[in-house]
Symmetry: C2
Subunit: 374 residues, 2 copies
Amino acid sequence: PRSFRIVVLPGDGIGPEVVAQAVRVLEAVSAVSSDFQLKLESHDFGGCAIDAHGEPLPQSTLQACKDADAILMGSIGGPKWGVDAKVRPEPGLLALRKALGLYANIRPANLASDSLLDYSPLRPEVAKGVDIIVVRELIGGAYFGTRKEQGVAPDVDTAWDTMIYSVEEVQRITRVAAQIAVAANPPLEIHSVDKANVLASSRLWRKVVTETLTKEYPQIKFHHQLVDSAAMFITSNPRKLNGIILTENLFGDILSDQTSVIPGSLGLLPSASLAGAPSTPSADFKPTLGIYEPIHGSAPDIAGQGIANPIGTILSAAMLLRYSLGLEKPAKAIEDAVRRVLDTPELGGSGLRTADLGGKVATVELGDRIVEAL
Amino acid sequence: PRSFRIVVLPGDGIGPEVVAQAVRVLEAVSAVSSDFQLKLESHDFGGCAIDAHGEPLPQSTLQACKDADAILMGSIGGPKWGVDAKVRPEPGLLALRKALGLYANIRPANLASDSLLDYSPLRPEVAKGVDIIVVRELIGGAYFGTRKEQGVAPDVDTAWDTMIYSVEEVQRITRVAAQIAVAANPPLEIHSVDKANVLASSRLWRKVVTETLTKEYPQIKFHHQLVDSAAMFITSNPRKLNGIILTENLFGDILSDQTSVIPGSLGLLPSASLAGAPSTPSADFKPTLGIYEPIHGSAPDIAGQGIANPIGTILSAAMLLRYSLGLEKPAKAIEDAVRRVLDTPELGGSGLRTADLGGKVATVELGDRIVEAL
Ligand SMILES: CC(C)[C@H](C(=O)O)[C@@H](O)C(=O)O
Ligand SMILES: CC(C)[C@H](C(=O)O)[C@@H](O)C(=O)O
């Protein structure tokens, strides 16, 4: 059987608790398959790495990630390493993304089950049928542009960040969105989001997205949307943006968080950060390194209580199998198992919910049920 | 009586229709007062100015605005002058804001009436009681930072914008938020929004906001919120941000549009863009130049049909009286009249709604009723 090396970064807060359930699920699918086997190894990253090694991204962790086929991650950070702390986890995360070249952040937001409609802050008729994948450029823009901090000299009283994009950076993220779009049948529509009526970087963005899609993917429908209008529609009429929202780093940070509250609980949603465009199912699979993690944070307030929702991390493990290992079948099996557990009264039905969805079931028990349902 | 010079910029699309109703309301309140009189004059601005003069902001319009006590504006733009047009309206708007030094954009979002709860995309229990004023810095940040467009030379393949803030720019917008906060009793809470875990400009923002509020307004409660979390809360639990959201230009553009869909119709919401901090009611009034406009766009699809909602523009006129002329009483009278018209069945009650709120009443008729209710 093919063997894959999976690096696990349990992270901080509830990270280790939810990651443990995703690891069980991965072990379960690999146990029943003679096609592949997974070698899992854990490394310190984030706040726990600051505590143990004095830095969020130790060299040994970085090296292990570079050598891995894929990385499964829990959220990092917490009040202990807040904005005012001397060493913070976030620069470690940005450095890891950059070092691995993870330019494509993929965040699907859809209702895993209609039975969850009641947990959306939106009216059921507004939330129903929302199915949006945010494709966010992850290692460009203002996050990495040259910057200058306010210095100690009293005359230095400005600070700036440069929102900068090159043609090539826009092209490659556009191709990621396009590959995901054409994997669906019919292809998904692409909504490219920018602020081209004001920003030079957005005008370049709009031009390159148009050229790339028109030339290389004529079968894909796309249109451009200003970021402020997009922020309106995501709340007022999100189905209008069904398909793919393609956008730059900072806009994607904001809009993907806004979108993620629609399905009712952050605890349900997975994400992938990829170093390349995913293969279309019909083509030969080309492996792509990626970090897979739930979109929720490390939730220090409920850490250690065993009540966190592991589903976002478990669905992230499914994305790992699909995008980095090319194992569509077990990926689909995990997604189906999650949906069955959320939908079937025999399996606990609406009783089988963690606290974020009004239920009382423990993290481990929900993991048990999903493993059973596989 | 004191005499004030009001410049009216009717703008494009539905602009002239809704502005006409606000002008009637202004004329009505000045007719019944022996304290003040208003001299109104109209000028071309935006798309209509491009058509008539070849540029969105003719010199004569700019000069009239500089000489005015306040400016009432309709929305500008439309498909005729879209992103690909040679001359576009937006640069005229940015130039006007900059030339007049309008650094403070104020956008209140609250439910004018509980009878409108049904029009919110949020569940009634989520939307109820939301009362947020967005205070957005308007002439700094990436909107005005040095930029370079992609040139014709094939080797120029990047484009950038500079998100830049100086200490002084952050101080003055913080003071605007603070002045609005202390005008309420008890003072409103300030939620300062930034991305200080990533951006240098945000770290300066956070530092200066903290220093300014702590030193100058110790009575105000404030806290810092990352922009991505703010985007989550505005949809999932907006009351958490009741009070003032204080933020920089680009974040404010996005978040104020997101917030504005909560009260059910964009057509209801006013805005002010000020060249200084508003006076507190208890202190001597210091006049501040400002542009007052509804937050909705020029809605070319319904222009000319006489069905647009004039309330956002009428409430903008109330803000004009309050902030630029120091006329609190007629400002309050207008706001009360609008609320009465929206609330009282005798006056039409839920029947008295424009199309955006599911009604059939015409723009002019709603204007009539508000003038009567004064
Ligand atoms: C923690 C932070 C640096 C990060 C980001 O802004 O990218 C986070 O918000 C995310 O979206 O993954
Ligand atoms: C038209 C555009 C330039 C403008 C802005 O981005 O400031 C608008 O969206 C607004 O919010 O007033």
